[in-house]
């Protein structure tokens, strides 16, 4: 566990990099932090990435600056995987010049994150190859996460309706808005749909290239994912992920709610593993407000995290089977999911929307007798998973559909900020439960399964292994559950953390889930940002899909384990 005293030591990382100042004084929680100017940003990040080994871009977001200094603060977090150090870097942008250079050349995965900041804060990223809105519709006026943004009341007006009815069908992605010098634009890190469509088809076959909208109302797009596909026959030439259909303004809403109400809110972000978002949020809030968590609560948090990972992976397994055309795996795995959800209902009162973790602990202890029944159930889970595997693992057809399909290299994993089982399937050995133990994970010996080549089958195999591992960890948590309080007594119902920032991460079923919290001393967060793992994991498909067939798209996207609620938030 890192503590606040670590700041003084770790800020030495910045030594010798020009353009960095105010090291470690930005109130960035316990993470070493620094401040830089827009013109130095690229140099600083290049130095950090190439000389100091900070290869993983963990966070790219923005926050409103206080009213006395109007403007936006850009926040970057980079991680060094060798010693699991994370640095926070902030760039202040004054109101009159909300412009910052793009870092797509350093991390291609920053592109969608920058688009999100552009969309919600109006920051222009100079040189970005594709600076369009990402969660809101293209003609939305204003940038809603700015504090000055005023929501227009009322329903759909005539202009909106006209826009919706006008054919936005086959034009391809909308043109991008204002941008700087095209000569300085960074190239797109994957094939462009518009460019591919503009080229002629195969001269021998006299074929015509076509644009296909896969989603948002497509049975295997995991809700409302939308892919623009440039096709020649069934062959994908370029693809672009489009989303935002499930945007519920969670980050905006959080700014008007107490931390407790936020817990109920973030359950809805990643609705198949709510505990992880709750946990990341509360770890940040507890860090800001300096609240201790008793050991029993930490064990309960581990138990719940692992159980919810099981439910999340069973959901993935269901989708995985259906996407390759096998319907039965869903009914097998949902049977176990239902059993675990029954336990959740008994313990927390909710089956999916738990609202169970509290600042300083959890809401309630396990009900009487629940622990024994849960333990007995978890013992039978291994046999159930054998049953799932009988359907797919050695099945020749399934192997043909997944082996060697959608191979992602470790370099691509780093470039796009991919984390979780997807990264592990490519052999990237990361797991926050083991690397940066939070809650009570330091007491557990977490085994991390790794894949070999990073194809869809490896991602399948890694998740199956993780299910067994989660069942084992949950049983260990039940066995080792300490006695004592389940919540720190005396924590007020409405906490008011002092002004400051915190960035806390947990290992969700999809990867590195972080919550960036900024408090201004009131009972509501000034800014809450969810670093969604599935967001980064999904955008890597833009680079993976070209060259594959339509059937492979499904096999690849399903192996990403997409949860749109978490991506759009």
């Amino acid at each position: 566990m890192t503590t606040r005293s670590a700041i003084a030591v770790d800020t030495r990382t910045f030594e010798g990099i020009s353009g960095v100042f105010e090291v470690g004084v930005l109130g960035m929680g316990d993470l070493p932090s620094a401040h830089t100017m827009p013109r130095h940003l690229i140099d600083v990040l290049t130095a950090l990435k190439q000389e100091r080994g900070f290869t993983h871009l963990s966070l790219l977001t923005a926050a409103e600056r206080p009213a006395e200094t109007p403007g936006v603060k850009m926040v970057y977090a980079v991680t060094r995987r060798t010693d699991h150090t994370t640095l926070m870097l902030s760039v202040d942008l004054p109101e009159e010049s909300l412009r910052v250079p793009t870092i797509v050349a350093l991390w291609p995965g920053a592109l969608p994150l920058e688009r999100e900041v552009y969309d919600l804060f109006g920051v222009v990223f100079e040189g970005s190859p594709n600076l369009r809105r990402i969660v809101l519709r293209d003609d939305f006026a204003g940038h809603p996460l700015r504090k000055g943004f005023v929501m227009t009341p009322g329903g759909v007006d005539a202009e909106d309706l006209a826009w919706a009815l006008a054919s936005h069908g086959d034009d391809g992605p909308a043109p991008q808005p204002e941008n700087s010098d095209p000569k300085r634009t960074v190239p797109l890190p994957y094939p462009s749909v518009a460019e591919q469509l503009a080229r002629p088809g195969d001269p021998i076959l006299h074929s015509q290239r076509q644009l296909l909208h896969m989603g948002p109302q497509h049975p295997s797009m995991h809700g409302v994912l939308h892919l623009w596909l440039a096709l020649e026959g069934e062959m994908v030439l370029a693809s672009e992920v489009t989303h935002g259909y499930l945007h519920r303004c969670i980050e905006k809403l959080a700014e008007t709610r107490s931390y407790r109400a936020c817990t109920a809110l973030v359950d809805r972000a990643d609705y198949v593993s709510g505990f992880h978002t709750e946990l990341a949020l509360l770890m940040g809030a507890e860090e800001l407000a300096q609240i201790e968590v008793p050991p029993k609560a930490q064990y309960l948090r581990v138990l719940m995290s692992e159980l919810v990972r099981l439910t999340s992976h069973t959901t993935w397994f269901a989708a995985c089977g259906i996407d390759v055309g096998a319907f039965t795996p869903m009914l097998f795995s949902f049977r176990d999911r239902e059993a675990i959800l029954d336990f959740f209902e008994e313990i927390t009162g909710g089956r999916m929307m738990f609202n169970y973790f509290r600042p300083g602990g959890v809401k309630d202890d396990l009900p009487a007798g629940c622990a024994d029944r849960l333990h007995a159930y978890l013992k039978t889970l291994s046999a159930s998973i054998d049953g799932y595997e009988a359907l797919l693992t050695t099945n020749e057809i399934f192997r043909n559909r997944t082996c060697g399909i959608g191979v992602i290299s470790p370099q691509t994993i780093l470039d796009f900020g991919v984390t979780g089982p997807m990264a592990r399937a490519s052999g990237v050995d990361i797991d926050l439960r083991r690397d940066e133990p939070y809650a009570a994970y330091a007491d557990f010996d977490v085994h991390v399964p790794l894949g070999e080549i990073g194809d869809s089958f490896d991602r399948y195999a890694v998740r199956i292994a993780e299910m067994r591992e989660s069942a084992r960890l949950a049983m260990l948590a039940l066995e080792g559950m300490p006695e004592g309080d389940f919540v720190t007594p005396g924590v007020p119902r409405a906490i008011k953390p002092p002004a400051g920032c915190a960035y806390r991460r947990v290992e969700s079923p999809r990867g590195e889930l972080g919550v960036y919290l900024e408090s201004d001393g009131t009972a509501q967060p000034w800014r809450m940002k969810i670093r969604s793992p599935a967001f980064s994991n999904l955008h890597v498909t833009n680079a993976v899909l070209p060259g594959r067939r339509i059937s492979d798209i499904i096999a690849i996207v399903s192996s990403v384990d997409v949860v749109m609620g978490e991506i759009d938030r």
Partner: protein, 172 residues
């Protein structure tokens, strides 16, 4: 072929075993005690609602789904509840109101069959006093600490509770 036959054997094995389906609504699962479903208002021994209009629930509700109407007690301090409604169409069943309740009067019930084709049906009226039927109080005062917490979090209560309570404008 071996992999294929494994899967077929597994499905066949399941076919020989009894199905796990519960044929809802013929058979219903017993809901655990903590399940957060619809709401009910507990009554005291005199049949009066265990609510003293402390507004803790209304102020803690993230969705502004709770609406409490009350009037000043004629015979002493505190306020008398006249109407308590929860808009289930807005409610997200987070359970914060039940948790905050200072008198343990607001509770969850096991009733989850709340669907309706009409939004008006989603207004759950937990208590409505008939005009002029205000009776003497039977419950104690709310604890000052709880009130203070909520005041901290959501802004001060009206200084003089003689005014009709204005529930809007709590947050932000």
């Amino acid at each position: 072929m071996i992999g294929i036959s494994k899967g077929m054997a597994e499905t066949f094995r399941r076919m020989l075993r009894p199905a796990v389906t519960l044929t809802y609504p013929d058979t219903k699962r017993e809901l655990p005690e903590r399940a957060r479903m619809s709401f009910a208002m507990a009554r005291d021994e005199n049949g009066q609602p265990q609510c003293k209009s402390c507004m803790l629930c209304e102020r803690s509700c993230p969705d502004d789904a709770i609406k409490i109407e009350s009037e000043k007690r004629a015979d002493g301090p505190g306020r008398e509840l006249t109407k308590f409604t929860i808009d289930l169409g807005k409610c997200m069943y987070c359970g914060l109101c039940v948790e905050q309740c200072s008198t343990d009067g607001l509770r969850h019930t096991g009733d989850f069959e709340n669907n309706s084709p009409d939004r008006a049906d989603m207004m759950l009226v937990l208590y409505e006093a008939e005009p002029g039927s205000v009776t003497p109080p039977t419950i104690d005062e709310s604890t000052p600490e709880q009130l203070a917490e909520v005041t901290d979090a959501f802004g001060a209560l009206p200084a003089e509770p003689a005014e009709p309570a204005e529930p809007q404008g709590g947050a932000s």
